[in-house]
């Protein structure tokens, strides 16, 4: 029972609650019941999608694999949920900085921080890569005609 929360049945239950809320939200929207000129209900396809998800989540509660635990969850920890969010926040911050400072200035601190965080040593190697890689990537995409954010260096690049 201690590991029940990691089982397919538990996952099915979490999904059932979330998808049920989504279904209720869509059902309550006026557009969902709007009949189009061809007689088709505007909300039919979204509700079919959510309905299929709901059915599958319910099936996970009772199907023969309900007691199994996904291999990837066997050694899951709480940090598995928030560490990816921290990574995503870091990437979002990098992109935010990119749109203001430009790619060439925003990418090196991000790369350096993430390489060191992931355990790359020696630090000197991480610094060199963090400087060289964005420069190469910028040159490559510029050659191909893809414009990357130039930020405050717009006048120079």
């Amino acid at each position: 029972m201690s590991n029940w929360w990691r089982s397919n049945q538990a996952i099915g239950l979490y999904l059932l609650v979330m998808i049920g809320a989504l279904f209720a939200y869509i059902w309550l929207q006026p557009w969902a019941h709007r009949v189009m000129r061809d007689g088709f209900l505007l909300g039919m396809m979204p509700m079919m999608g959510v309905g299929l998800m709901l059915l599958c989540a319910a099936a996970m509660l009772v199907d023969p694999l309900r007691r199994e635990m996904p291999e990837t969850l066997a050694d899951a920890r709480i940090s598995d949920a928030w560490l990816p969010l921290v990574m995503l926040a870091g990437i979002a911050l990098c992109f935010w900085a990119m749109s203001r400072l430009g790619f060439v200035l925003a990418a090196p601190p991000f790369l350096l921080a993430f390489m060191l965080w992931f355990g790359l040593r020696p630090v000197r190697l991480a610094v060199i890569l963090a400087v060289v890689v964005p420069a190469v990537v910028y040159a490559f995409f510029t050659t191909l005609g893809v414009r990357l954010p130039r930020g405050i260096l717009a006048g120079f690049l």
Partner: protein, 514 residues
Amino acid sequence: MQIDAFHDALALVFTFKTLFWLVIGVFLGVGLGAIPGLTASTGIALMLPLSFTLDITGALGLLIGLYKGAVFGGSISAISFATPGAPDSAATVYDGYKLTKQGKGRKAILTALYSSVTADTASDIVVILVAPSIALMALQFGPTERLWLMVVAITLLGTLSGRHLAKGMLSAGIGLFLGTIGADPVSNVARNTFGQSWLRDGIHLVPLVIGIFAMSQMLDQGLELLRKSRTGKKVEQSAKDLFGAKSEGLSFREYLSCWREMGIGIGVGTFVGALPGLGATVASFMSYGIAKQAFPEKKIGEGSIHGIAAAEAGNNATVGPTLVPLLAFGIPGSATAALIGAALILQGITPSPRMFSLHADVIYALFIILILGNIANLGIGRAFSFLYARLGQVPGEVLVPIIMIMAVIGAFAARGDPSDVYMMLGLGFVGFLMRRVGIPEAPLVITFLIAPLLEENLRRALLINRGDWGGALFGSALGIGLAGFAVLVLLVTFKMNVGSKLARIGHAEDKKDG
């Protein structure tokens, strides 16, 4: 055959640009495949925005070259370090790594290369011969038949993509839901936007595929790296002396001695590749298993080139046939086919049976690129395999942040819209959670692509039948047959637990191998 279109295709393909991007695609693909943890889907997802800047043949050259290269490239690290670059090459580890330990790494890699290219070419020829006939047949289909064909494809994908039927179908449901966000495809009325005006155009394909295939994988690998650096466990691998000058090569006689195993691989791979939902991993293990059972005297599993030939022919033979459902019906049968279909859509060409008459030059160009891709694969694989073996040693600490940055660039470069980047990050987290709980990603992306077509065909069938649902859904014998087949697939998969059995093919070999 339309001779004019064929001439146009030759003129399109045999240009410096197209051949350059084809070679670059294969070059990147083999390297990508050789790096454990990176798959063809990740590479194509990342390269998709780049393909906008190219013309149609350049884009096809880049993506198909990358796909072919990546499927072969996976065998390099499987043979060198017993770590398959992708699951497709897991069966190659059994014999490949044993040969490497015996000092025959060069022989093993050359066997993998030659059997990959042979099987890939043979299956491409089958595609070239078969796809136009199937497309001709598909042209006779009305909206009802097309609707049910899509339902069959979604059912096959959902049921065969993993060992858990409910999770596969759940993934398809998520794709269907995401595909309905934004304006509806017939009346162009906004729906399902959660009150957000920026969602009116729907979720763009590029952030979706980059988020689901690339970012989610990088989050997963980043997490692994953080765990590894905390526990202090580091795997030190070295390719030194594995492929020294003294290492034994592969003779032509030895290559020919593998014809039976390659034949099995071609047969199994071509069939499995054309079916939606299965893919290269299943083909590789199936052909390996059949060859092992059929030829016990060849000691497959004990360090035999015949085992490598069977596994590699099996996975590479799926590359061409995976495009058959896409070209003949406009329905992608695998994640990679969906991404190639997406590239065509982004170039203004909708994959469908009508493509054979409307864009015959593009179809012929694609066929020529399929064949040329094998020649490029052979040349690049022969010249650089032994260097690529060292690429497998590039630490994840370097690769993961770089690919994360590339994912951001890819999502932004497609339309220059910052909301695409945030969308990609959000979908990356969704993909990460799906990986963690064992929900396959491929049905999501494919159903997302199919969703508007599904709605269009359903509404067209309803219009033709003046709002009569019975007539719209079951108005033809073929429609009833396809509907029955979809139900049958669901029932059989559930009763016989087919997905689980297919997933076990690989695991059984793993256990036997210890």
